[in-house]
């Protein structure tokens, strides 16, 4: 029954469309820097011993060739996360659906729940919309938790992992500004539509650089 209610709610197109509401962090425009969340690898003690290193050599032996396989992909490709936050304005948020578009072609390479316990699984996406477009994505999720355990304040509820194909002189600020996010449905635990705002953070993962 709950799912049916959400399906009905999702069919109602809602509210705000936020153009340029992205909170682009300073690091996004600073190409070549690590993203803030990046932690350095911390080997655990038992894996750090010389004997373990030897064992790796013994296990892999001749397997380096595959790792060194060249990639001839020429256009610069950059990965990024769009962390999506929803503000249900005091109402308990049990379900949502939003649509993302960008002025630049992107490829979705993963979706997660931004580690929010209210939405324990990774959100779902509209397969047909994603299959037929490179600049559009529809994402939705719901939870069956009781109302008193749902979020009522602005919270990150989803993360979109995406890959952008960039030109050498692509302006990341302009790219971020071209991304638009619209919440198309939001509902409380009883399936009633609620008013909600949506924002996002765009972070580029700037590691060793593309091959």
């Amino acid at each position: 029954m709950m799912r049916m209610r959400y399906a009905i709610v999702f069919s109602v197109t809602l509210l705000a469309v936020f153009f340029g509401a992205a909170a682009v962090t300073a690091n996004q425009t600073n190409r070549g820097a690590d993203i803030p969340a990046c932690r350095s690898a911390q080997p655990e003690s038992d894996a750090d011993s010389p004997s373990t290193a030897k064992r790796l050599q013994r296990v892999t032996e001749h397997q380096q060739a595959d790792a060194a396989q060249p990639d001839n992909a020429s256009p610069p490709l950059r990965f990024a996360t769009l962390t999506v936050s929803i503000d249900p304005k005091g109402a308990p948020l049990a379900a949502y659906q939003f649509e993302l578009t960008a002025g630049h072609a992107f490829t979705v390479v993963g979706l997660d729940n931004a580690n929010h316990p209210c939405f324990p699984d990774a959100p779902r996406y509209d397969r047909s919309a994603n299959a037929n477009a490179t600049d559009r994505l529809i994402v939705a999720d719901y939870t069956l938790l009781p109302a008193d355990q749902l979020i009522t304040k602005p919270q990150a509820t989803a993360t979109i992992h995406a890959m952008f194909t960039l030109d050498v002189d692509t302006d990341l600020d302009a790219l971020a500004a071209s991304v638009t996010l619209a919440i198309t449905a939001a509902a409380d635990a009883d399936g009633n539509p609620i008013d909600a705002d949506i924002t996002f953070d765009l972070h580029f993962a700037l590691g060793q650089g593309p091959e």
């Binding site: 690590d34 690898a41 373990t52 790796l56 380096q64 396989q69 490829t107």
Partner: protein, 766 residues
């Protein structure tokens, strides 16, 4: 010439001596027929020997005994030798129990070193059948195999069965036990009809894991994304399909001491045969043999072997390398499995054919006897053999074979299990032309070979006087009992038995030669040709085999028997499907006699052929398989399609033994629903399209391209794995330190009962 008493006496003595020679030679020719290495010429050569002896030309005798005849030379022929002549002593082997002899040959016993796990048969409801647990001494067996540090730590399988549809979640836990960052590569099997529809990568453990849902992309695109993510230091995973039942998992940038879990969800339908529903979860890919011309091989290599390189010295792009643990090595990888069954009706009997399971009913609810939960026992968690679980329900079958689902767009999907009509039991079969094709390659050596030989022996005894038969063996080449089927007379049956006794395992798996030999000789139109393959299916050129079968099949029917603990079910099922027959399995410890008795009880009745289905008022489209298989007694088939309207009365028509048969089925009665039906249907459609691609390979490219595009469109629309799609998941939220690290391929254990030395380390490797 004047006859005198002396001359008469001398003539009589010569006549007696000549008769003795002829009698002995008759024995020789019997044995010669059974000698391996002379297959295919026995009729002509035996006839030559008779004529030569009669004309007094050939009296050469040698003392070279045919291999494996196990005989001692009699003294009588020595009296025939003349100075300067060889002694050729060939006699019939003494009567014996060939199966016992086979088992007593300790050199030929199966084993896989440390990976040996003696398989008990565990009756879930009722008495536990005690299985012998004696150790098997083999040259490969070692006392203390070395435990290797490897990335795949554990696999967790949670399966639930509703009706005859299984939903299975597989979690693979990869970790990095090394001091450097690694990329893990692992090849693993799934059921050949698995509709893989979900893929989630969990990075990190504890309170802060990121569960990232993977996306289906066109395969080349997904591979390019993965390479980029790996090069940029991101955690990423890529799932690709090597074969419909072999998949490859890559996980990039696993940092030292860290763990990344991969969750895969798939749906498939259970098989139903002879009153039992069977759930199978394959655990290991067997070592494949690849003929030299294989275009897309699956290579079996020793652990740590160099990847296959192309002419430029780069890793070969075509084909897949699968590494295997040596007998003195083991990995710490173990597997746990939980299976929940809700049959919808009372479960009367259940048994695990392969593993020790901890049985237990789900006790809550009013219909507790409809449900069952089993778990793999803690002591039986080495992933080196298929998990096979069977159950039987009250009333022999579930209430209705119809399952439906309507998606959000209003598209209706159904699966329908077609049961053979009871009328078939009353009809007698026509005379048969039985062709047994036995895989004698190195991977079959040991128990699989012993079981196969026992099965053929049993089958030969089932033949009637109006039947004919032929036995074909193949390994690196193919040969046969004779150039054409012989009548199933007692004498020929004896010859056949001796021929089978002398077969042994070794060499490669040139199955295509066996297919040609089985299907190419002239067919007797008065008889119903049944070709029976007995093989583990460990080949890498399945498509070539299926194409040859399709081209040469004619009116023959193919029944395939998978022999072993982890056989190539994709090949066996496809062979049977293409040959309008059925597949069956001989697991280690199974009674070959029982399996063959059941087989003959089924084929002793004609199949219902030319099956057509009338769905009444419902508008039904895209039904798969596109050609409805024959209905064989005890072997229902599942069809799946899309529909609009109401599925009510379904009429099934066909013919058997020149009788028209019509069966009316009230499909709507007790019909159930299942949300995964759209994916099950799409997976069947993809399989059907791939079959058509295999058959159309030599036709114009446009047809191939259209079929490929159809596969791709279907896979993307239903978000399924296929030959042309892949799942990709990237964690772009953080960059790991350092470059992309070292690639570590997870070596697999040898399947139980398969020898390393005759497959990966021996004469069968490419």
């Amino acid at each position: 010439m004047k006859l005198t008493p002396k001359r008469v006496l001398t003539s009589l003595l010569l006549l007696v001596l000549g008769a003795s020679v002829l009698t002995l030679t008759a024995c020789y020719s019997d044995s010669y027929m059974s000698a391996p290495g002379n297959h295919g010429q026995w009729v002509e050569e035996a006839e030559d020997r008779w004529s030569n002896l009669e004309s007094g030309i050939a009296n050469r005798v040698t003392n070279s005994l045919p291999a494996a005849s196990g005989v001692s030379g009699p003294t009588a022929p020595l009296a025939l030798a003349r100075p300067g002549e060889d002694i050729w002593v060939i006699v019939k082997p003494p009567a014996h129990d060939p199966e016992a002899d086979e088992r007593a040959n300790t050199d030929d016993h199966p084993g896989s070193g440390a990976m040996i796990a003696i398989r008990p048969r565990n009756e879930v409801h009722g008495e536990v059948e005690a299985r012998p647990r004696e150790p098997r001494d083999t040259p490969e067996r070692t006392a203390e195999p070395e435990l290797l540090p490897l990335p795949l730590k554990h696999t967790e399988v949670n399966a639930s069965v509703t009706g005859y549809i299984a939903s299975v979640n597989v979690t693979q836990q990869f970790h990095n036990p090394f001091a450097e960052k690694i990329e893990a590569v692992y090849q693993f099997p799934l059921p050949q009809d698995a509709a893989v529809s979900e893929f989630v990568m969990t990075v990190g453990t504890g309170d802060d894991p990121r569960r990232i849902r993977g996306i289906v992309r066109e395969k080349e695109e997904a591979q390019a994304i993965y390479r980029q993510a790996r090069a940029q230091g991101l955690n990423a995973s890529l799932l690709t399909q090597v074969r419909p039942n072999i998949f490859e998992q890559k996980v990039a940038n696993i940092e030292p001491g860290k763990q990344i879990d991969i969750d895969i969800t798939y749906f498939n339908t259970l098989s139903y045969a002879d009153g039992w529903y069977t759930f199978v979860f394959p655990m290991v890919v067997g070592p494949r043999f690849n003929p030299p011309y294989s275009g897309d091989p699956v290579r079996a290599l020793p652990r740590g072997a160099s990847p296959t390189l192309d002419e430029r010295g780069l890793p070969a792009q075509r084909g897949t390398d699968i590494q295997y643990l040596r007998p003195d090595e083991r990995s710490g990888h173990d597997i746990a499995l939980t299976l929940d069954i809700d049959a919808g009706v009372a479960i009367e009997e259940a048994t695990c054919l392969t593993h020790v399971v901890a049985p237990g009913r789900m006790s809550d609810g009013p219909n507790a006897d409809h449900r069952l939960r089993v778990e793999l026992a803690a002591g039986d968690r080495i992933p080196n053999k298929d998990f096979v679980f069977r159950f039987r329900v009250a009333g022999e079958r579930m209430k209705s074979g119809l399952v439906t689902h309507t998606d959000a767009e209003g598209n209706g999907y159904f699966t329908l299990m077609l049961y053979p009509p009871a009328d078939l039991d009353a009809l007698e079969r026509q005379p048969m032309e039985m062709v047994f094709v036995l895989d004698c390659s190195g991977s079959m050596r040991g128990e699989p070979m012993a079981q196969s030989k026992a099965a053929i022996r049993r089958a030969l005894r089932h033949l009637g006087p109006d039947d004919t038969f032929q036995i074909i063996r193949f390994s690196s080449d193919a040969s046969s009992l004779g150039p054409r089927p012989v009548e199933a007379t007692p004498r020929n049956i004896e010859r056949g038995l001796r021929y089978v006794d002398d077969l042994s395992g070794g060499g490669g798996t040139m199955m295509i030669e066996g297919v040609k030999a089985a299907l190419d000789f002239p067919h007797d139109p008065r008889r119903f040709r049944v070709v029976t393959f007995l093989t583990d299916g460990y080949i890498g050129n399945e498509t070539d085999i299926l194409r040859e079968v399709n081209a040469r099949l004619g009116d023959a029917r193919i029944f395939s028997f998978g022999v072993g603990s982890s056989v190539n079910r994709f090949l066996l099922e496809r062979l049977a499907k293409q040959g309008r027959g059925a597949a069956a399995y001989l697991l280690p410890g199974d009674s070959a006699n029982d399996v063959m008795d059941l087989y003959f009880s089924r084929i002793s009745h004609p199949a219902m052929t030319d099956v057509a289905i009338d769905f009444g008022d419902a508008r039904v489209e895209q039904v798969y398989p596109s050609r409805t298989p024959d209905l064989i007694v005890g072997r229902p088939v599942i069809v799946t399609g899309r529909y609009q309207g109401e599925l009510g009365t379904v009429r099934i028509t066909g013919s058997a033994a020149r009788h028209d048969i019509t069966v009316t089925l009230d499909a709507a009665q007790d019909a159930t629903t299942h949300p995964a039906l759209a994916q099950v249907w799409a997976r069947r459609k993809i399989a059907d399209l791939m079959d058509r691609m295999a058959h159309a390979e030599n036709r114009h490219a446009g047809e191939q391209d259209a079929l490929k595009q159809d596969v791709l469109d279907t896979a993307l629309a239903y978000q399924l794995m296929s030959q042309y799609t892949a799942f990709i998941a990237v964690d772009a939220s953080r960059v790991t330190a350092g470059d992309h690290g070292t690639t570590v391929t997870q070596p697999l254990p040898m399947p139980e009962g398969v020898r390393y030395d005759t497959t990966v380390g021996g004469d069968a490797s490419e």
